[in-house]
Structure formats: C-alpha cells, structure tokens
C-alpha cells in the first residue's frame, strides 16, 4: 500500500473524533495509519477486484441516533435486541432487560474511559479499520461468563438511516472458557441513501467455548459496507460464523480467524445473492497455527444482472500445525450474461501431515434439470427458482439459529420468490 505522510481524507473530514474510551496507544496507532494511508486502489492486491476509490469523492456525515421503529427487524427467540442507529446506541429501541444472567452486553459508550483497553487487530495500514477506531460512534461489548450456556442468541440490530451517513461501529466479544452462546447481528437499512457502514468485530473464543455468529447483511443497494472481523480461538473451542449477504451496494467482508489452540473446530459459511449493480467481496483467512484442528469453509453465491462477486479465501497451515483438516469451497451460479465472479481459493501449507482441499466452481444452472422440471409442468421461471433455491439453500440451511434462518428465508422469498421447503 502506498504510504504518504499526512494524507488528508476529505470524505471523512466532517466526522468528529471518537468519544469512546479507547486506549491512547490504540488511538495513536490508528491516527498514524489514517494520516499515512490512502484509499486502496485496484493496484493493491487485496483490493484488486473491489473499487473503493470513489468513496474518496464523497462526503459523509454523522447520522441521527434514532429511528421511529425497528418493527420488522426483531427476531423471535433471541435475547435483546440491542439497537444501534448509524453506529449509535439507542436505549429507547433496545431491550437490555431480556439479556440472560451470565451474559453482559453493554454499549461501549456506557463503559467510560476503559471501553477499549486494547485491540487484537493489528492495523497493518488498514485504512478502514483505522477510520473505524478514530471515528468510532459506538459499539457493543459482550462477555459470556465462564461455564455459562445459552440457547438463545443475543440479537444486535444495526440500522443505517439518512443520507450520506457514515456509521463506525464495533463489536467486542469475549466467550469465556466452557461457555456456549451465540449472536445474531442484523445490518439493515431504513430510509437511507448512499450510506457507509464501517464495522469491526473482535472476537475471543476461549478454551472449550462454543460460539455461533449469524451475520445477516440486508442493507439498501446504495449502501457501502466494509466489515473487518478478527477472531481468535483458544484450544478445544468451536466457532461458527454464517455471513449472509442479502442486499447492499458494495459489500466487503474481511474475516480473519486465528486458530491458536489445538483441537479446535472452525466453520465459516457464506451466502451472497446479488442483482442490479451490486458488488460483494468476501475475503477470508483461516490461520492454523497449531496441530489437530479442523476448518470447514463453504461460500456460495447467486449473481444476476450486472452484479459482481469476489471470493478470496486463504487457509494457512503453519509448519508445526500437523494433522489439520481444512476444507474450503466456493460455488457460484451466474443467472445473467453480464454478471461476473472472481474466485480465488488459496492454501498455504507449511506442515507435511495435513488433509486440505479447496475448490471453486462457477457456472450456469443445469439446462437438463430445467428441461426435466419443465417436462413435469413447472414454468421455466419456477424451475429456475427451484434450482437456485436448492443451490443457495445448502448454505442457508447451515445458519445457526431458526430465527435468523426464518428471516433470511422470508427476505429471499419476498425479494426473489424463492422457496425453501
């Protein structure tokens, strides 16, 4: 990445410095990155297929901190919700009383000067992560107590609303040893245009903890969303993330999982459904640092119209990480002639006793199957819907919680008429 001293970023010059209690050293590092890093161009390898340069020509504002109603975004059988509007906590729309004993869920703004004592995410000149830190509106800290178990996930709703709004939002999550819990995070839009959600997650899964995260992105087609998620797993832990992108204009998900302890299981599933001129880019990294772990990665996308998708999945198996089973797969269906996909599964293996596989497929729907279905009386449209639903359904079925699964089903049914019986 090009480094120039004292770069000024006009597109965020209207945003105020954060009021969240971030540790001075973290803030200083972020400010340093911000002033020395330009918006990445497509000449930067990690941004080769995703153009963000035009963001620099825009002018973002801080948004309002409330909306009239979040009906339609609530999910059954979840705890909460904790609601954030344009990155800011809305006490009026939230229900913290339903959070179970054993879970602490607090807005960062309520934690005073000690809200973010450290950060696990090295900045590495990551501009958007630096902006997130320097201009952090608010976020949530969730702590699952050691040994505590919870069937119902905590629901966090993030609403973007208004014009040219930028929301810098952070989730910090600690899953205590031997705990079992989960979270559903909904990113949604309400009367917004040209917004920019810049969100980060820092997730620590301690020894023997089990944690599921359903991340549902359903923002408007004019919105930009950049997510930077960092996960660290200790020994014997199980971590599952399902990233479902239902809508959004330009979506970039950076997901990086560091597996530090032995005997861990890591599951990363992703589905993305695009039409119009949407662009969705999933960049994932699983870093197996130690032996005897398994990771399963399945990302699938359906691309229509002029939409474009990017999948870049990297799995590292370090030198001493023997007996690793790592599976990675990306599948895409193109429904139009003008949609496109760039898929790049990568394995970097330094150990010699491992079982790893990766694969990538991109194609059209099976015409023989369409003929077969039509020969039984289905219209061509029904036949195509059925095949698309079946294709993407493989990932949707993996969503951890029935409430989020139902929500995804209903959005896909309303938007595309897809049916998943």
């Amino acid at each position: 990445m090009e480094t120039i001293n004292k770069t000024s970023h006009a597109f965020i010059s209207d945003l105020n410095p954060t009021e969240i209690g971030i540790h001075p050293s973290v803030l200083e590092a972020a400010n340093e990155t911000l002033s020395s890093t330009q918006i990445p161009t497509t000449r930067v390898e990690a941004w080769k297929y995703t153009r963000v340069a035009q963001l620099g020509k825009r002018k973002f504002q801080k948004g309002s901190d409330s909306v009239d109603s979040i009906d339609g975004f609530r999910l059954e059988n979840t705890q909460g919700p904790l609601v954030f509007v344009n990155g800011q906590f809305s006490e009026a729309l939230s229900d913290t009383s339903s959070i179970a004993k054993g879970i602490t869920a607090q807005p960062l703004s309520s934690l005073g000067s000690n809200a973010l004592p450290t950060s696990i995410v090295p900045l590495h000149h990551e501009l958007f992560h630096a902006i997130n830190t320097v201009h952090l509106n608010d976020g949530v800290r969730i702590t699952i107590d050691k040994n505590s178990q919870h069937k119902q996930p905590v629901h966090i709703i993030h609403v973007v609303s208004g014009e040219d709004v930028m929301a810098n939002f952070k989730t910090v999550l600690h899953c205590g040893a031997f705990s079992e819990a989960g979270m559903v995070q909904s990113f949604v839009s309400l009367n917004d245009s040209n917004g920019f959600v810049n969100a980060t997650h820092e997730i620590f899964v301690e020894e023997n903890a089990h944690f599921n995260l359903d991340k549902i992105q359903n923002e408007s087609p004019g919105n930009t969303h950049i997510g930077t998620d960092q996960v660290v797993q200790d020994a014997n832990s199980v971590f599952t993330i399902n990233t479902i992108t239902l809508n959004g204009g330009l979506v970039r998900n950076n997901l990086s999982i560091e597996v530090k302890g032995q005997n861990c299981e890591t599951n990363l599933n992703g589905a993305y459904v695009l039409d119009g001129k949407q662009h969705v880019d999933n960049h994932t990294t699983v870093d197996h640092k130690v032996a005897n772990c398994v990771s399963n990665e399945l990302y699938k996308g359906v691309i229509d119209d002029h939409a474009t998708a990017v999948f870049n999945g990297k799995v590292f198996v370090r030198q001493n990480a023997q007996k690793i089973n790592a599976f990675q797969s990306n599948g895409n269906v193109l429904l139009s002639d003008s949609g496109s996909v760039n898929s790049k599964p990568e394995l970097e293996i330094y150990a010699d006793d491992v079982r790893c596989s990766h694969g990538s497929t991109t194609g059209q729907l099976d015409e023989d199957a369409i003929f077969y279905l039509r020969a039984r009386g289905l219209s061509e449209k029904s036949a195509r819907r059925l095949l698309v639903s079946a294709f993407i359904g493989e990932v949707i079925e993996k969503i951890s919680y029935p409430a989020s699964k139902e929500y995804v089903f209903s959005v896909l049914c309303d938007r595309f008429g897809w049916n998943f019986d």
């Binding site: 099976d366 279905l373 020969a375 039984r376 009386g377 059925l386 049916n419």
Partner: protein
C-alpha cells in the same frame, strides 16, 4: 388422443425421423419397438419438446392442440408425460417440493386452486405405495443417489402424482432387474384407464409380458414399418429385426 402424421425430424442436419405416422386413442396401450438408432428416443424427445431437434415436416395433434407449437411445460400441463430414459439428478431439490410445485403450476394453468398440504401428502403416500417407493425417497433430493431401479420407479411415481392423459415410457424397462420391472409394470397397470393412453418405447419384449399392449409397432429407419397385435413383440424377441429389414428390402 394423439395423431402423428408424416413426422420428419433432424438433428444437426441429420434426418432421424423420416415420415413417421402413429395414432393412439384413449384407453389404448401401444408399444414401439425397434433396433438401436431407429429413432425411438428421438420420437420421445420430440414429443416432450426438447429443442435440439428440428422438425422439418409433418404434424402432431394432441387432443385437438398442435403439439409442436406448445411450450415444454404446456405439453405437460395438457396431460403429456414422458418417463425419461435417463432421469436427471437434481441435488438440493426434494421430490416433495418439486412435485408440489409441478402440481400447483399445472393447477394454476387449468384455473384450479392450489392443492392443500394435507391432500398433497395423502396423495404422496397413496401414490408412492403404488410403486413401492419408500416414503423416505419421496422426501430426498430428486433422483440424487438413487439406484437405476429407484430412478425408474420415481418416474412412475411422478406419473401417478400427475395423472397424465398420455404417458410415454422411454425405455423405462432398461437396466431393471425382474423385481423392479414387476413393480414398475404393476404401477403402470394400475394407472391404466379408459381415459388415458400409454406408449411404451422399448428395446425388449419382457416389459410387455407385464404390460400387455393393444398394438405393437416396429420403428425402423425413422418410420413405423410394421404394426401388429401383441404377438408381434414375441416374434421380434425371437427372430430379431433382420427379417423386417429383409421384408422391407423385398417390398
């Protein structure tokens, strides 16, 4: 029911059907036999509406409709059914979901109400029993991981669910062991009625021991060259097709 007149069909400029005539009435079972390459599967594909064949001449009247002008799905909705020689595997789509969508699309076409979940499931139970298809297979993905026999039974199960006017069984017997053959034949016999008709396209006579045809036709070199009673099938089984070729050469 169906009247095929002087049908000519080509694929990539190669003429396969060369003036085929066939008429099947309601309540009848016809068998079409013939050697490899005679055009049996081409006939089935043309009837179902596969678009890689070019019809250069002739007509097909299906119950008063010009079949060749109809879309694939409309043929099915008007009551034409093809049991595929090679049923397609469709991962992720359950038989149940597929058949409910098919039934409801057909009902919508006919201006009828969608079938209720209860009636649908009752029908699935009844019809799957007809071909001794395990109820579990009914809820599995369409043909995925099915044995050859299960795939063919699934075709007849679909036929039972959709209750077509005209069913064309394209080599449904090939690859079946004797038990599966008996089950498939029993299923078809139970679906036979004075209102519908069945055309069995086959290479072998043995299916016709179980489903007795009213007429047997010999398809050779793109035309029906001989038609006769059910005994003709036995004669073909015994003597092969060479004597037909000789008869034709002499004529």
């Amino acid at each position: 029911m169906i009247k095929i007149e002087n049908l000519h069909a080509s694929i990539e400029d190669k003429e396969i059907l060369k003036g085929l005539n066939l008429e099947v009435n309601a309540g009848e079972v016809h068998a079409i036999m013939g050697p490899n390459g005679a055009g049996k599967s081409t006939l089935a594909s043309v009837l179902a509406g596969r678009d890689n064949y070019e019809i250069t001449e002739g007509s097909i009247d299906f119950d008063g409709n010009d079949l060749l002008e109809m879309e694939v799905e409309d043929r099915a909705r008007e009551g034409l059914f093809l049991a595929f020689q090679y049923p397609v595997e469709i991962p992720g789509v359950s038989n149940i979901n597929f058949l409910r969508t098919a039934l409801n699309d057909i009902r919508e076409y006919r201006g009828e109400e969608a079938i209720s979940a209860k009636d649908f499931m009752a029908r699935v139970r009844e019809k799957s029993a007809l071909v001794e298809l395990d109820a579990k297979l009914a809820s599995r993905s369409v043909n995925e991981g099915f044995s050859g026999g299960e795939k063919k039974r699934n075709e007849i199960f679909q036929m039972a669910m959709l209750e077509p006017k005209l069913a064309i069984l394209d080599e449904t017997d090939s690859g079946l062991d004797i038990d599966a053959l008996r089950i498939v034949a029993n299923g078809v016999n139970k679906l036979k009625s004075p209102e519908n008709a069945i055309v069995i396209i086959t290479h072998y006579q043995r299916l016709l021991d179980h489903i007795v045809p009213d007429v047997v036709h010999v398809l050779y070199d793109g035309r029906i060259v001989k038609s006769g009673p059910k005994e003709l099938a036995l004669e073909l089984e015994e003597k092969g097709y060479d004597w037909i070729k000789e008869e034709l050469a002499q004529a």
